[in-house]
Amino acid sequence: MSLLLITLFLLVAATGTGVVLTREPRRQVLALAANGLALTLLFTALQAPDAAFSQLVVGTAAVPLLFLVALASLRLHGPPKEERKE
């Protein structure tokens, strides 16, 4: 396993941990997109460009957008938000 692959595996692990540790939903969506981008890089380095393409378009564009829209819709139509605690 080359240094590049080790770095990318660690990057995927780090960004994945980031998704879990992020608590604020909007930030979590972006963390998820970052994790998708790291996975894209990993798939490219593993010579799986087809999988990398799918991961890029679905993981960093489509899924985050749908999550953001769902959050926006909650703010628009959901119950009035309670005051932020911090």
Partner: protein, 250 residues
């Protein structure tokens, strides 16, 4: 100690040794001991004149699986659209919603310029990925989603109202349904000629040409249309959720 942590520790006691055991018994990283990959590559290269093996497997060797995925996508998009419209109705309004007392900032000129530059380029790239499915990495699914994200860039750059004017819903419905239908009907060609369903009945053509691969480009086109239409429809229906509710609605 919280019960959740206790549960996690108990699970880790079993799962961590099992994971370690498996990790050390796996085939070596990068090794491919099974003969299937080599066989598929040889078959696709010499019999079908395809240079992107993933497309060869998806649209020829396992074309029936891809048909299943196509139907699955159709059902998923149809279900999502029905659920979203169930609460909202079919009507559309040409205005985005806003939270009272929180003005929407004007779109910055940089964003508009960037989207105007990028949307056509993205669309072109999506078409390239679709058309070169059997030659270079990519294919109908990837190209279709790229085309759908080009449509999204129009929304980002031009705003909701212009986006709705540019992309009529019925067009997207026709793309989605028509693509899936094209795939299934192309499969019937094999039956009509006395062969199996989805058999690759067209001549393989010249290796490296856009028309090589026999039936593969046609099936791939079906997938591309269905995916582009389906994803754009999904985006549209989700973004409809953020528009201002009409009079008497909700």
């Amino acid at each position: 100690m919280r019960p959740r942590l206790l549960l996690a520790l108990a699970a880790a006691l079993v799962l961590v040794p099992a994971a370690l055991l498996l990790a050390f018994r796996m085939p070596e990283f990068g090794a491919h001991p099974l003969p299937y990959g080599d066989a598929a590559t040889a078959l696709m290269l010499h019999e079908r004149h395809v240079t992107n093996m993933v497309s060869g497997v998806n649209f020829d060797l396992r074309a029936i699986d891809t048909l299943g995925e196509e139907i699955m996508l159709l059902a998923a998009v149809g279900g999502a659209v029905m659920l979203l419209r169930g609460a909202r109705g079919e009507g559309g309004q040409r205005r985005a919603a806003a939270i009272p007392g929180r003005p929407i900032p004007r779109r910055s000129e940089a964003v508009v310029l960037l989207c105007r530059l990028l949307a056509p380029v993205t669309l072109l790239f999506g078409l390239y990925v679709v058309l070169h499915a059997q030659l270079t990495p990519g294919g109908g699914f990837q190209g279709g989603v790229i085309i759908a994200s080009a449509m999204l860039l129009v929304w980002l750059g031009e705003g909701y109202a212009a986006w709705r004017r540019m992309l009529p819903g019925p067009l997207l419905h026709a793309l989605e349904g028509g693509g899936a239908a094209l795939y299934a009907l192309a499969g019937l060609a094999g039956l009509a000629l006395g062969d199996a369903f989805l058999a690759n009945v067209l001549p393989p053509g010249e290796s490296g040409s856009l028309l090589s691969g026999g039936l593969i480009p046609l099936l791939n086109l079906g997938v591309a249309l269905a995916v582009a239409g389906g994803f754009a429809m999904l985006f549209l229906e989700f973004l409809e959720e953020t528009r201002a509710p009409e009079e008497g609605e909700e």
